[in-house]
Amino acid sequence: MSHAVDEATTHVKSLLQWLRGRLFFSWSSSIATLIILYLAWNMVPPLINWALVRAVWSPQNARLCREAIGHGACWAFVADKYRFILFGTFPADQHWRPALAIAILMVLYLLSALRNMRRWRLAYFWLAGLAAIGVLMWGGLLGLSYVENERWGGLTLTLLLATFGLGFAFPLAILLALGRRSAMPLVRWLSIAYIELIRGVPLISVLFMASVMLPLFLPGGVSIDKLLRAQLAMIFFAAAYLAEVVRGGLQAIPREQEEAAQALGLSYWQRTSFVILPQALRIAIPPLVNTFIGFFKDTSLVVVIGLFDFLTTIKVSLTEPAWTGFGVEAYLFAALGYFVFCYPLSRYSQIIERETAHRQTDIHFQGELR
């Protein structure tokens, strides 16, 4: 027997072994495997047929979509409305501005995920990036025409709501988490009341509160526009949830750290910002990222107060006579859009979690050796 054949047989053998070990190791397991394969055989080909092979892609002729109903998907809808879905009603000749803003945001997200970037440097990048985005979106500077924020929309608006929401909620959350553990009863009570009140009610009610109740509490003549009101609601909402995650991190820091820092003569703010918080926040990265994901998904709720975010633009596009009745395709596309952002984030948080677990066992082990 030649060497190649030998190798092939071992491959086949190990594959068979794997199949037996993982799929056909018992009667019940074999039956389950066969049922799944049978269902897949029956469902996957028609699904691929519908979604890809017989789908209508070109937006020129909406009539083709009507004819394909029942056996082919209508992606032409997305091809026709993609600019509206990405940029909302931003002036058409200026679409490069929100596109560039999205690109800057992507770079900032990627930079934040890099290990050696978890430093103060990152904060400067963010400040510079957000300033650039502000200039791009509003304009009125550097020869850019002014665009009022009622015209922002689509994916751009979703990303901005999520980014600015988290950016402002985070410092507030740290203060609330510290407040909840404060020795001063009034500070503690106020923090607890705020956190529990917000966490006890649905986000929709907070959004309604911002859109119908907030104007009542401002002096006559002063008004805040709809976008800013929604953004404020999202910031106050996210802060309560983030505060609990930060508190989880704070609780994981042993008392000795605080006591040692106190013995060195550091003040409360020195202890907190140089000793406690850096450790607590590092521990809290995985749950923080999970909260970020939840918050990013929650931005889609602005659909109920009529802001034109990613989901709303898709929903509104569906009301055009040419595209009514293609809700399934439209919302599958929306789902894909959110998934593309959330899934990598959730993988990232899982990886960090595993790393932290390893590091902790390493430290533990070294401690035992000594």
Partner: protein, 345 residues
């Protein structure tokens, strides 16, 4: 002109005052006094603005509106009969019961489904485990509103009209007007009433509106994905030594699970599942997006009609806080009862 010693005494006095302000027992009092003043001033400022605005816009305040006629229709009401001539109070009660109905059912379904998927995720069968993992990842990374819109579109756009409804079982009909299925007749045990086609819909049996069906489906599937992860984590948290010891005592797989693993896993599972139940109840408020008349949706209509935003929002908040406290209370009781004795703090 002040003498040298006078000035020295003055400086000493100031620095003494500064020192006493820095004193660990004085400082917190000052901070809290400042905070209380700040919160008080802000509260006074906002209430006086609100009072002024309400007066200018001729909006009444107080809860008198609850006794007035609501004069809007509500799509569905289960436990309470409702007509547009009824009061706002009754309308809000209908909304609350609708919220209760959908969240209670979704909690039950998601617990069963989530438990099942969580166990499947740990199955030694590779295909089963992968399928469960894919389900969890896909559902958890898509916003619930999108899923609700999707299911609503599937039901209203893709299901046939009642006349040629899909019938997967006897007396079960799936159509774009909702789901109809047999219902137990009250008072006559074991007698089922079957739905029959009449006109453009079904009569008899039980009928779920498209809105309710989409909300229940979406909410159950969504919550189940989170519950599944919690169940999986809870079972994984039981140390392998426990399994080995139980097997070495001669217990079979079922007994090991029933008497050794699950009781320990439940202690880890219950607290996070409690917060999932809370989330499920709060998430049911997304009903407003697909037009199911839940509490938030009806309160919102009430606010739009009466202009009494503060009262409307207050009702929403009070109801949800009460629900939250009630669920938390029940689960704390359960936890105390079944927590490991030694682990109690």
């Amino acid at each position: 002109m002040r003498s040298e010693s006078d000035r020295a005494a003055h400086t000493a006095g100031v620095s003494k005052l500064m020192r006493s302000l820095q004193h660990p027992q004085v400082r917190p009092v000052i901070y809290q006094a400042l905070l209380a003043t700040g919160v008080g001033v802000a509260a006074w400022y906002f209430t006086s603005n609100a009072a002024e605005n309400l007066w200018q816009r001729r909006i009444a305040s107080g809860f008198d509106f609850l006794a007035r006629e609501a004069s809007f229709e509500i799509g569905e009401s289960t436990f309470l009969s409702y007509e547009s001539t009824d009061t706002y109070l009754r309308a809000i009660a209908v909304g609350f019961l609708n919220t209760f109905r959908v969240s209670a059912l979704a909690i039950v379904f998601s617990t069963v489904l989530g438990g099942f998927i969580g166990l499947t995720r740990l199955s030694p069968n590779w295909l089963l485990a992968k399928l469960a993992a894919v389900y969890i990842e896909v559902i958890r990374n898509i916003p619930l509103v999108v899923q609700l819109f999707f299911w609503y579109a599937v039901i209203t756009e893709n299901l046939p009209a009642p006349a040629d409804a899909l019938s997967p079982g006897p007396g079960i009909f799936l159509s774009n007007r909702g789901f109809a299925f047999p219902m137990i007749v009250l008072g006559a045990p074991l007698a089922l009433e079957y739905p029959v086609l009449s006109g453009f819909g079904f009569s008899g049996g039980a009928l779920l509106s498209p809105e309710f069906a989409a909300l229940l489906l979406g909410l159950s599937l969504y919550t189940a994905a989170f519950t599944a992860e919690i169940v999986r984590a809870g079972i994984v948290a039981v140390e392998s030594g426990q399994y080995e010891a139980a097997y070495s005592l001669g217990l079979n797989h079922r007994q090991v699970m029933r008497y050794v693993v699950l009781p320990q896993a439940l202690r880890v599972i219950v607290p996070p599942v409690t917060s999932q139940y809370l989330n499920c109840t709060k998430n049911s408020s997304l009903a407003v997006a697909i037009g199911y008349p839940d509490l938030v949706s009806i309160a919102n209509t009430t606010i739009n009609q009466t202009g009494q935003a503060i009262e409307g929002i207050a009702i929403i908040m009070i109801v949800y806080l009460t629900i939250s406290l009630a669920i938390a209370g029940v689960m704390n009781w359960y936890n105390r009862r079944f927590a490991l004795r030694g682990a109690q703090r």
